[in-house]
């Protein structure tokens, strides 16, 4: 009889635990690894590119060493990161390249995400050829002449056309529509991840081979493989409204920070600090390069930058 009673009690209390305490809003649940051992924790979203890692590395270093927080980082792709941010699984995104649809949904409608101000860095997406190639063929930098070079950009994957290499599926891109609408003799080949794309670019550069790639600034790889932008038809407000009909260049985007709404309200010093966090493209590149090229651990790179730029970050402290 005894075991049965125990089982019944256990089952009953489990049921009580499940239903008795009412609703459980899973949009208000933090990561189980947060706030371990009484530490105040901030969870930051790191996107997959190195610039974003640089932001997070410096913010993390300062939060840990100047403000006494523990910082967890999670790597999530851009759009899912918005969702995670709205649920409080992460507290902040430090570098967003513009997601109007998500902004409307989470910032305007649901009010679960609060804007965190400018990062200070401006981003730009474009098509690039290596500078060593552009020097030999200066007219390649105009999109109208791209077709004459298509043959040189051919690879086994591009099936008889020139190859335009795109990167991670998480990035904002209109390239397929652009190639179609500008009637170019090119095939968009998706590298599938930024790691694959960078590795391929480096391999091309080692052999001084020509290539055409989707790329963006600020990016540390420019220091390693200098690249020149190919001019596309100029960007005008609204020319990219219909994704199927885009036939113009990408805009220049001031990168934005976003905070979880509750964190923005109750986050104390950390939220204050993250709102004030604002640096320049050069600063970011300096840290990125240390991480990606010298292969320093992110923490060490951040320390080096912090040690030599006190006047910059002093203004961020609450």
């Amino acid at each position: 009889m005894r075991p049965r009673t125990t089982t019944a009690v256990a089952a009953g209390s489990a049921l009580l635990l499940l239903t008795g305490c009412g609703a459980a809003d899973m949009t208000k649940q933090a990561s189980p690894f947060a706030n371990a051992q009484g530490a105040r924790t901030v969870t930051l979203s790191v996107q997959s590119w190195v610039g974003a890692q640089a932001n997070v590395a410096v913010a993390r270093y300062l939060l840990e060493h100047e403000l006494g927080y523990r910082v967890d980082t999670v790597q999530v792709d851009e759009v899912p990161a918005w969702d995670a941010l709205s649920q409080g699984r992460v507290d902040a995104i430090l570098e967003d390249w513009g997601h109007p649809e998500q902004e409307q949904r989470y910032v305007e409608d649901k009010r679960t995400i609060a804007p965190g101000g400018d990062l200070g860095v401006t981003g730009h997406i474009g098509w690039f050829v290596p500078t060593y190639f552009a020097k030999r063929h200066p007219d390649v930098t105009d999109w109208k002449n791209l077709d004459t070079y298509a043959e040189q950009f051919r690879t086994p994957e591009s099936g008889g056309k020139g190859q335009l290499m795109d990167g991670s599926p998480s990035y904002v891109t209109n390239d397929k529509a652009l190639v179609k609408n500008l009637k170019l003799d090119y095939q968009v080949v998706f590298a599938g991840s930024e790691a694959a794309q960078i590795t391929q670019i480096k391999q091309f550069a080692k052999e001084k081979k020509p290539f055409l790639t989707y790329w963006y600034t600020p990016q540390w790889l420019f220091e390693k493989v200098p690249m020149t932008e190919v001019k596309l038809p100029a960007y005008q407000e609204g020319c990219d409204a219909d994704p199927e009909k885009v036939a113009c260049a990408y805009p220049v985007t001031p990168l934005q920070k976003y905070l979880n709404a509750d964190f923005a309200k109750d986050g104390g010093d950390a939220a204050d600090f993250l709102r004030k966090f604002r640096w320049t493209t050069e600063d970011q590149n300096e840290v990125s390069l240390m991480i990606a090229e010298q292969k320093l651990p992110a923490e060490e790179a951040a320390k080096k930058w912090v040690d030599s730029h006190e006047s910059v970050w002093n203004k961020w402290l609450p």
Binding site: A24, A36, V46, D77, V79, P80, T155, S168, P169, Q200
Partner: protein, 649 residues
């Protein structure tokens, strides 16, 4: 087309068709002769007709929007999913805090102690060494996070799996209902489980744990059912005659008799949970997988390896310890076992307390060995020297180019050129002769479902990559397997290599693969080959070694040379094992298709990655479903059904 394979075989004219295979093929040919002209006149174009597709992107998009909009207010989420998610968070957190509280010395000591009690002194040392190595690599905290997540996931998988297994083991009807489901789940690639859970739970640990449970529970259920059903009938009768109630029979006879299978189930569950815990880093699981994934972003193979090695170590240690525990079952315990256990427990507690008192709970920063730099240098050197311009044989990039133009392109274009009904016919013609009409029907329906989902072309692209990868895997795998079966020394050397490749997270070798083969389908095939090879080599070696020694001996006495023995005795006798190797090769290669999407493989793999990355669940789920269908089809086409029918039940 579905009706095509369901037609009952007509009685063949006596004397002409004696073989069953030929009879089945004739029936197919007759059916095709009737149906193909119909299809060909109705839809002249070779690709899947638009009229037969269903566009799911609207309803799926709406569903995903609805979930996001209602996640914080709808009762279904507040009173059910919310609690599930909450329970997961609390459980993982509890385990994580406990691990941190015990400290690194304590965790290492306790792990060593457990390994010693269940598996012996040698493995205990190996376990402790593995944990120390995790710390030395600077990965202590991520290792603990992964361990916490795994512990919860494995516990839940074992509970769910055992319950399902009990149901299937005790009730014939449940068994019939569950078997096909569990069989199918074993074939599905891990990534396919991620999207649905993300849809409901969002990015984060709860989704990761639940995906892991769904992925890791089926082997436990299968093996529990198998163990219960395989129990010795005479023992059961004896127990029954003693007047035991059904519950007593279960607890005192059937379950203890199934111990071996239960432990094997636990072993498989742990291994699958570990591999999933890494893959789930894509949806925010944190821990070691996340470190690997983050290192990938800065193209840092060394750092990825530093996080990958603890995963390999954990996997090898957990596998060996649970395996050894299974092997030791039934042996009498040593006479002083209890006392020894008590001493060891006291020692472990003492170590933990000492660690705590000394304030050394976290792994000391000074004790970290950086392996990233030398590894990166080695990888750079290798890729710089092998990529191109190697005299005579050409560089790896040239091979990749040739492989793409001469193998992958013709294969893809050929498949896409075939009319859709021809593809279905081929599938039926392959599946029916080695299986039953049921498996053939499943295969054909799975293939047709791909067309209905509207991803016919990308699926054939993926299929062409899978076929090429399987071919390469089998050639290399059989050759290596044969070599390993013939030389003990080679097999011993090979074993750790296979272990590493089987458990190393696939993310780690993405960069080397691209650095060697460039971006495109060739590196995707290479990654798949690396992943599938160990299993194929293992099964081949095992199959060849299990060939009856008497048969070999008699061949030798007849003066057969080594090659003759192999060709005429060993290979024919090991045929079932070789077929199993083919089947496993296909399933494993398909599991890496999505990884291939990360290096330029395109097609379905890219679509799934795109769906995860953009939160575009319509694209991702449809592509995931198509991969599942491809998996079903390939499994049925390569798995002889007679064997399966005799195995269980």
């Amino acid at each position: 087309m579905a009706t095509l394979t369901a037609t009952t075989p007509k009685a063949p004219p006596p004397g002409i068709l004696t073989s069953r295979t030929a009879r089945k093929l004739v029936v197919l040919a007759v059916a095709a002769a009737v149906l193909v002209p119909l299809a060909a006149t109705r839809w002249t174009d070779g690709t899947w007709p638009d009229a037969l597709t269903i566009d799911l992107s609207r309803p799926l998009g709406d569903a995903s929007d609805w979930i996001i909009d209602n996640r914080d207010s709808h009762p279904l989420f507040l009173y059910f999913f919310g609690h599930v998610s909450n329970a997961v968070v609390i459980a993982v957190r509890a385990v994580y805090l406990a691990l941190l509280a015990v400290g690194w010395a304590g965790v290492t000591a306790v792990a060593g102690l457990v390994a010693w009690r269940v598996a012996g002194a040698g493995l205990a040392l190996a376990t402790a060494a593995a944990f120390v190595a995790c710390g030395l690599l600077g990965m202590w905290v991520p290792t603990m996070q992964t361990l916490a997540l795994m512990a919860v996931a494995v516990a839940a998988s074992v509970v769910v799996g055992t319950l399902l297994g009990l149901a299937a083991g005790l009730s014939d009807r449940m068994n019939r209902a569950l078997r096909p489901v569990l069989d199918t789940m074993q074939v599905l690639p891990a990534f396919a489980y991620l999207l649905p859970v993300v849809l409901v739970f969002g990015i984060g640990v709860p989704a990761a744990v639940l995906a892991t449970v769904v992925y890791a529970a089926p082997p436990m259920a299968r093996l529990t059912a198998l163990g219960l059903r395989g129990a010795d009938k005479e023992v059961l009768e004896a127990v029954e005659s003693l007047g035991a109630t059904a519950r007593q029979r279960l607890l005192t006879a059937r379950l203890p008799l199934a111990r071996k299978e239960l432990l094997l189930g636990l072993n498989q569950t742990i291994m699958m949970a570990l591999s999933m815990a890494v893959i789930a880093s894509v949806i925010g699981a944190g821990g070691l997988g996340d470190r690997v994934y983050q290192a990938l972003a800065s193209v840092d193979v060394g750092a990825a390896l530093a996080a990958g090695i603890p995963i390999v170590l954990l996997a090898v240690v957990l596998d060996r310890v649970t395996g050894a525990a299974g092997a030791r079952l039934g042996q009498p315990p040593a006479p002083n076992a209890r006392a020894l256990g008590a001493y060891a427990l006291a020692a472990a507690v003492a170590v933990a307390v000492a660690g705590r008192l000394a304030g050394r709970l976290e792994w000391p920063d000074g004790w970290v060995v950086g392996i990233a730099e030398p590894v990166n240098r080695a990888v750079d050197w290798m890729t710089a020297h092998l990529y191109s311009g190697v005299p005579v044989i050409g560089g790896t990039a040239d091979w990749a180019g040739h492989f793409t133009t001469w193998v992958l392109d013709p294969l893809r274009d050929g498949l896409q050129w075939l009319p859709w009904w021809a593809v279905l016919l081929i599938v039926a013609a392959l599946a029916w002769p080695i299986g039953t009409w049921r498996t053939a029907l499943t295969a054909v329906l799975a293939m047709a479902a791909i067309g209905v989902l509207g991803v016919w072309k990308p699926s054939l692209d993926t299929l062409s990559q899978v076929l090429a990868a399987v071919a390469v895997t089998l050639v290399i795998g059989f050759a290596t397997g044969i070599a390993a079966a013939r030389s003990d020394r080679f097999e011993r050397l090979l074993r750790p290599v296979l272990d590493v490749f089987q458990t190393m997270p696939q993310f780690v070798y993405l960069i080397p693969v691209v650095a060697l083969f460039g971006v495109g389908r060739a590196p995707a095939v290479a990654a798949a080959v690396v992943y599938a090879l160990p299993a194929v080599v293992r099964i081949t070696t095992q199959g060849l070694r299990q060939v009856d020694p008497a048969a070999l001996e008699s061949a030798r006495s007849l003066g057969a040379s080594g090659a003759q023995q192999l060709r005429q005795v060993q290979l024919p006798l090991a045929r079932p094992a070789l077929l199993l190797a083919v089947n496993q090769g296909v399933v494993l290669v398909l599991a890496v298709v999505i990884i291939g999407g990360l290096v330029g493989g395109g097609a379905l793999g890219y679509d799934v990655v795109f769906g995860l990355a953009q939160g575009d669940l319509a694209t991702g789920l449809v592509a995931g479903a198509a991969i599942v269908c491809l998996g079903l089809m390939l499994d049925r086409v390569t798995q002889p059904t007679e064997r399966r029918a005799t195995k269980g039940a």
